[in-house]
């Protein structure tokens, strides 16, 4: 789950990381009055779950409250990577001497949380990694001991020669690690971590991604979810307990199991179609899920054909058949439907479908070919 910069900053602040103040505005007028209360130059920053905000015009300086109002109005009209900006963060502009980078991610190779720090901050860290890899220091944290003082100091000295700044950075990194663990994060980032002309070390930006699997035990983190900034169909899918990712193709896919769902999409492409989505109805065979899945897929006007690919194991194919029948009775389909079923209770499923004027296939490749042909209007081979 993504959270906004202002939310991540609040979490970082609670763990002691020095961060300048800031307030959220949802209108240009609010931005103006916040800017007025701070006095001096402010930064207005789009709060949206997308990287590259700066390049997209989502981060602007404003020298006066009037200017803050104007830039806030502009930013609030933006769409960044398809996501509309609905909130801006207004924060006093800081005097910056140097910009560094500090982040943590969960690393699958080392099976640990890994710090990455770089004295080259303020820009995309992947760019730094590609161009000047020696400017990045990586450090895997042993979860049994946490980030030790001496480890934090090694990272601190990589960022700053001055011992006071190295110590300040070390402290911030330990606080960042504490925030990361306490929030069940899979990523936590400060970019840039800056020094001021008077030598202080402070965090100017904050980013955090939370492991969805943690949300059940961290209700206060789960409450940070901002559904208004997510794709609507994906919100609906999550509420229906489905894993759904919208794509741009024309063949809607309903599959049980993530691996099979990906393989089905790949096969759609292989046979000349384009998948309209990733959708995993999961292991449990609840007819309700099938109904919800069809509702979400049919709401996409690009979808020209729908393909079910169900390999019954735990999933009972008769449950899926019942779900399809129910859904179609409620909302007759406007696009053709191809069903592939095999496995647990296959015979019962076929009977249910036939009795309701539907048919099903058992071979995956054949089913995909047919769905692609129907979607693209070409002939079935």
């Amino acid at each position: 789950m993504n959270i906004h910069e202002y939310q991540a900053k609040e979490i970082f602040r609670k763990h002691g990381i020095p961060i300048p103040p800031g307030e959220i505005a949802i209108t240009a007028e609010e931005a103006e009055s916040i800017a007025m209360s701070y006095g001096g130059t402010v930064v207005v920053k789009a709060q949206v779950h997308a990287g590259g905000r700066g390049k997209a015009g989502g981060v602007k300086l404003a020298k006066t409250p009037e200017e803050a109002k104007k830039v806030a109005r502009d930013i609030l009209k933006l769409k960044i990577k398809d996501l509309p900006v609905q909130k801006v963060l207004v924060t006093p502009a800081a005097d910056i001497a140097t910009e560094a980078y500090a982040g943590i991610i969960v690393d699958r190779a080392s099976k640990k949380a890994v710090f990455m720090v770089s004295p080259a901050g303020g820009i995309d860290i992947e760019e730094v990694a590609a161009k000047t890899p020696d400017k990045i220091l990586r450090h895997a944290v042993d979860p049994r001991y946490g980030l030790q003082g001496f480890e934090a100091m090694q990272l601190g000295f990589f960022l700053y020669k001055d011992v006071k700044q190295a110590r300040a950075a070390a402290k911030i990194l330990q606080q960042l690690y504490a925030a990361f663990v306490a929030s069940g994060a899979s990523l936590a980032e400060i970019n840039p971590l800056v020094t001021t002309p008077t030598g202080e070390v402070i965090a100017l930006d904050a980013k955090m991604v939370v492991d969805d699997n943690e949300l059940d035990r961290l209700p206060e983190i789960a409450a940070l979810r901002d559904e208004s900034s997510e794709e609507r169909s994906e919100v609906a899918a999550r509420e229906a307990n489905l894993t759904f990712i919208k794509l741009d193709g024309n063949v809607g896919c309903v599959v049980n199991g993530a691996g099979l769902a990906m393989a089905t999409m790949d096969l759609v492409k292989y046979y000349g179609g384009e998948p309209a989505n990733f959708l995993d109805i999961g292991g449990s065979s609840n007819p309700e899920k099938v109904v919800n899945a069809l509702r979400i897929i049919t709401s996409d006007p690009n979808v020209k054909a729908i393909l079910f690919n169900i390999f019954g194991g735990i999933t009972r194919t008769d449950d899926v058949a019942n779900g399809i029948v129910t859904a179609i009775k409620e909302n007759p389909l406007k696009v053709p439907l191809v069903i592939r079923l095999t496995g647990t209770n296959e015979e019962i499923a076929l009977k249910i479908l036939t009795e309701n004027g539907l048919s099903a296939m058992t071979d995956m490749d054949e089913a995909v070919k047919k769905a692609v042909a129907l979607a693209t209007g070409s002939k079935v081979a």
Partner: protein, 290 residues
């Protein structure tokens, strides 16, 4: 022969009285797996299906039954504790089916299990089956048949699909292992390839990967450097967009790393036969085993 589980596997089921645990315990017993005990705190002293003794703790269960393997069906927030309890009780082989285990839990569990000297399979995996000998987890028994092929996969139903095609083509399996779709898991491709290489009855191996991470690339190198048996593979997720988790927590392309294309290339470069479609695995195997 087979890897990890066989006729001598004496299995515990942690969470045996839960919805999933009880369902699959029955299935495993029907298949012929020796389910020697179950664990559900507070139900110690009772029996599952009037046969299998239930215990309050894993330690007690191991002491009373001599179990040498365990399979875990407990809710995600308790799965880490269940894995560690099993490792602490010195069970040498631990299979965790549970999906949705927080990844930071797994950073601790991974080290703990290793310290205790156990092998962990999963979490978020379908388990494994040595056809005709023992089934541990949720892989449907009827799609498998004994034979000389080893199979290892990050996926569940996709594996069933491939195994089903193999069985229909009369290519039986020594063991089918689902290592699971999480970013941090206990057993990886190389662990399984190593075991299949050592297993006298296995003559060829199928490896089913997906986007995310570098496990398949590392495995491909291992095949080239250390294996004498032919290996063929399939990668799911050629059409997956970057930066999105495709159902499995570990199935994500980060930046430009972990794509299906790069994994398929690694397969090719290291002598692993690349199936373009799941069904192609069968033909590749036939060719490889000639």
């Amino acid at each position: 022969m087979s890897i990890f589980v066989d006729k001598n596997t004496r299995l515990l089921v942690q969470g045996i009285t839960g919805r999933d645990g009880s369902f699959h315990a029955k299935q495993m017993i029907e298949y012929g797996t020796q389910v020697v005990g179950g664990v559900t705190p507070g139900k110690g002293g009772q029996k599952f299906e009037e046969k299998v003794p239930i215990f309050n703790t894993v330690a007690e269960a191991v002491k009373q039954t001599g179990a040498n393997a365990t399979v875990i069906y407990v809710p995600p927030m308790f799965a880490a504790d269940a894995m560690m309890e099993a490792a602490d009780a010195r069970i040498p082989f631990i299979v965790c089916i549970t999906e949705g285990v927080p990844v930071l839990d797994m950073t601790r569990v991974y080290l703990y299990v290793r310290e205790k000297g156990s092998r962990l399979l999963g979490p978020n995996c379908p388990g494994l089956i040595s056809p005709g000998e023992s089934k541990v987890g949720i892989i449907p028994g009827r799609i498998c048949t004994p034979g000389p092929i080893g199979l290892v996969s990050r996926s569940g139903t996709l594996t069933y699909e491939v195994v089903y095609q193999m069985t229909r083509a009369k290519m039986g399996q020594t063991t089918c292992v689902g290592i699971g779709g999480d970013p941090i898991n206990g057993t990886n491709f190389i662990d399984c390839l190593e075991a299949f290489e050592k297993d006298a009855k296995t003559t060829a191996v199928v490896m089913i990967g997906e986007i995310g991470g570098t496990d398949e690339q590392d495995a491909a190198k291992f095949v080239k450097e250390k294996m004498t048996k032919p290996v063929v593979g399939f990668i799911a997720g050629q059409t997956a967009p970057p930066g999105r988790r495709m159902g499995h927590a570990g199935a994500i392309i980060s930046g430009s790393a972990g794509t299906a294309a790069e994994k398929m290339q690694a397969f090719e470069e290291n002598g692993v036969g690349v199936a373009k479609r799941p069904i192609d695995v069968v033909d590749l195997l036939k060719r490889a085993m000639r």
